[in-house]
């Protein structure tokens, strides 16, 4: 694919941190010269001798590299990243991964849970439009980047697995898990499914695709 280079190792300065919710933040990093990627690809970020892979939420034409990080209590890297001072230099490698958008004549259904929205943010920033997006979170607050991705979707459902009992969901809200929405809200047909987020979601949606949408394609990336 044009613009994608061989994987390399780089050093990059931490430019800013923006909290998206109580436990999730976006890190902006200096873009090393010569670093190119395709929307959906990621980097491996190292700090304190620990390395983890993160999908990029930026577009290939953006000036900086950005990732979305959820703090894992007791985790080896995310608590460190949450506290690192802006200006420090981190090591990274990339680009990594094959979770890219593969155009076809089938309608695209993007399914994300939690920070699994990250590669889709990069795709939308790069011009992807007209897809169906099932974005899952336990609450409305967990729908990271919704303002950015929803307007580009042909159909958008925010699947809230634990809706607050005293608050009505907005029109784009759907009470339940993304896998249940995939089962109940999609008409029969052949689709290209892009799944990103939890292992359980990938497992459940892949099983639903095999059962209800034969002939569909499934691309997936498991985050947690």
């Amino acid at each position: 694919m044009a613009g994608v280079t061989e994987t390399g190792r780089f050093r990059s300065r931490l430019l800013s941190r923006a909290w998206l919710s109580a436990d999730t933040f976006q890190l902006d990093l200096e873009r090393p010269p010569g670093f190119y990627f395709a929307p959906g690809q990621g980097i491996r970020l190292s700090d304190g001798g620990v390395e983890r892979e993160y999908s990029l939420v930026c577009a290939p034409h953006d000036q900086h590299l950005s990732i979305c990080v959820q703090v894992v209590a007791g985790g080896a890297l995310t608590p460190l990243l949450a506290g690192r001072e802006v200006g420090i230099v981190l090591e990274l490698s990339g680009p990594h991964g094959y979770f890219i958008f593969q155009p076809s004549d089938r309608p695209a259904v993007l399914v994300a849970t939690g920070t699994g929205i990250a590669p889709f943010v990069s795709m939308v920033k790069s011009g992807l439009r007209g897809f169906t997006l099932l974005q899952g979170a336990s609450s409305i607050e967990g729908l990271h980047y919704r303002d950015l991705v929803q307007p580009s979707a042909g159909r958008y459902l925010a699947c809230i697995s634990r809706p607050a009992p005293d608050h009505a969901l907005p029109a784009w809200g759907w009470p339940g898990r993304v896998s249940e929405a995939a089962r109940n809200e999609l008409s029969p047909g052949q689709f290209d499914f892009y799944l990103c987020g939890s292992r359980t979601m990938v497992r459940n949606v892949a099983a639903i695709v095999d059962e209800r949408f034969p002939g569909s394609r499934v691309f997936f990336e498991v985050f947690y």
Partner: protein
Amino acid sequence: MKAYTGGGDAGKTSLLSGERVDKIHCRIEACGEVDELSSVLGALVASLSQEGRELQGELREVQADLFRLGARLSTIPGSSAFAMLPLFGEEQTRRLEAAIDRLEARLPPLQGFILPGGHPSAAWAHVARTVCRRAERRVVRCAGERAETARDEKLGDLIAYLNRLSSYLFSVARECNRIFNVPERTWQA
């Protein structure tokens, strides 16, 4: 990257180009043989000591080739994923031919059919050679399938590579016995 998803618990899996196929699909079967081949090569590399350092380097390159070959097997031509894959086939096959020529120049002429065995590394090389032949047969079978998910005119490049790789592994087996001063045994009719 996580070590498991469970997305294949019901016997299906995704190709790199997204198609859902049974785990007994010819491409998946072929990938499995290539995976086994790479694992046997790992045992071969582990059985080589300092004297086999040059071979170790070459064999690790072959293992890297096999990852690329596996990715290629898992991807239907014409897909966007296919466009992202590095070219594979002719260049790697030429490299193997050069390696075979280099080894042959050091080895004594063949005196007959060689019985697999000798030094443990040579024995592993023969096991690898036979697994390689099986992988080759699987890819040939895949190339003959009519199903849309199997059809692929360019599988011929992969078959040529595996064909040459098994020849290379035959030479490697002989080289291992030469390095470790273990006589070759030939079949006596």
